[in-house]
């Protein structure tokens, strides 16, 4: 069993005014000029390189870090590279107020923990880059120091796929049962 509690250092994806970005689209996360790349390990270096103020994210991010954004993170294209580039960097979770519909599926199916935290945009000041948070995937409780916030807990299928590793491993585990 994988741990269902993830602790990591926050990268709060803020705009030049210090507000969490909404509507970070798939071209900002993984630009179309890199679409010919098919090897996941090569994708990390380009993560967020088209988001104003975050071009150097891939150099700064460390394995285990947690990415945080506002509403509709991953809007746009179905390109899974926009999830895989974070996996390549070892990002341990993405927390946002909401996600693009296909992005959400891509993340779940790749075993990348994504957490919906309603109201996050309004409480963004609470989460500063560098802060350490713990996300409990089972209960949805996000802990920052002595404060807690209620995110949406994982759904059953999301947890099953996460525990298996990804959709393929999950499918195989069903076949073995």
């Amino acid at each position: 069993m994988k741990s269902t509690k993830i602790t990591g250092r926050v990268w709060a994806l803020t705009d030049p005014q210090g507000k969490l970005y909404d509507d970070i689209d798939t071209d900002m996360i993984f630009h179309n000029r890199y679409l010919h790349i098919t090897d996941v390990d090569e994708m990390g270096q380009y993560a967020l390189d088209n988001l104003e103020g975050w071009k150097d994210f891939s150099q700064k991010a460390q394995p285990g870090d947690i990415v945080m954004a506002g509403k509709n993170f991953g809007a746009g294209s179905s390109r899974q590279q926009a999830v895989d580039c974070f996996r390549a960097l070892g990002v341990s979770a993405i927390v946002a107020e909401s996600f693009g519909a296909i992005y959400k599926r891509n993340a779940i199916n790749s075993g990348m923990p994504i957490v919906l935290l309603p109201g996050l945009t309004d409480m963004a000041g609470e989460f500063e880059t560098g802060a350490e948070i713990t996300v409990d995937l089972t209960t949805g409780v996000v802990t920052l120091g002595d404060k807690t916030f209620q995110a949406q807990p994982f759904s059953q299928v999301q947890m099953d796929i996460y525990q298996a590793g990804n959709l393929f491993a999950y499918g195989k585990s069903l076949g073995e049962k």
């Binding site: 071209d27 899974q80 790749s110 299928v157």
Partner: protein, 417 residues
Amino acid sequence: MGHTFVEKALARKAGLDSVVPGQIVTVRPDRLLTHDNTAAISKQFRKIGVDKVADPGINVIVLDHVAPAANETYAANHKTIREFVAAQGITAFYDIGEGICHQVLPEQGHAWPGAVIVGSDSHTPTHGAFGAFSAGIGRTEAAAVMATGKIWLRVPESVRIVVSGKLPERVSAKDLILHIIGDLRADGANYCSVEFAGETIREMSIAGRMVLANMAAEMGAKNGVVEPDEKTRTWLKGRVTHEYEEIFADPDASYKRVIEYDVSNLVPQVAKPHTVDNVVPVTEAAGTVINQALVGTCTNGRLEDLAAAAEILRGKHIASSVRLLVLPASREILLQAIEQGYVRDLVTAGATLLNPGCGPCLGAHEGCMAPAEATISTANRNFKGRMGSKEAFIYLASPATVAASALAGVITDPREV
């Protein structure tokens, strides 16, 4: 209590009496659409350790994104796909030149009322224009569907958009959907199934309905759908040869939201850079200098779109400061446009005619922009950097507005030309 379109479509497919929003169902989709990304998907498919696709009959593969190949890497990807198609015995394969996947799929009879279609492209909701459930998925999932023939889906909540009134002259489905997205915002229908209904939709052509369903993706929708009618049946005749059972939402179905629009006084709309919901009436964007104009894409590359542009450009010439790119959405449309004389009208007016395909819409080839340049396009996305330079600007509008702007060299209200 009654059920929405998506609840009925997914319940039937899952073999259940009824389903509720939020429920996870496993279904066997009728069609799996993939495009140039089949190269990467086929690699993932092999990793699963299965030799053969579960059901080659559901696969529809169209090479459209970078077609013909722009360089060696893309060419190698296309080659991988052709070999995969041959090895797997996939018959519904459409090589370069056939057109954009979202036009070719219905033209070739792969969309029908009540069908469940998934595709590894975010504009897969387009096929909801035929009364199908049609949604975009990622490449891992596409590989998994190839291997198992199955997919898990979360039953979406439903939003019903009811449109009334007659669209004014030179105001089209594109203006309507831009207006709706500007109103509801880029996440206004997140994870939802959007039903387009009302007298205006019934009056609308199939091409217009495809514009609405296509751009439902830009408000975050899981799928968009228009219930079938006589127009749908006529369009599908000769293309879909098997029986199908139409699905209609119940009158007493429960919606997350019902929103009404009256288009009687709607004016042409423009989405300004860099988000699709940054929408203003054309009068507020008029005068903006443009370097390039594009008529085409899976949103507006159909015969009526080329006709709307030709009507404005016939006998005239575009501004010398503008490059006008025209990409019919498919070979079938290109041939019709030749027969109707639209190709002659457009090319004589100064247009550069490109082959059916996605072209420069996603910035890979055939008309990328330099820094500080601006394009007005009939496409569905204006994200920063989508058509080449990150320092370029993309404005989205209807074919009529794009054609009028190409004439003037600045964004122009098509009602004034």
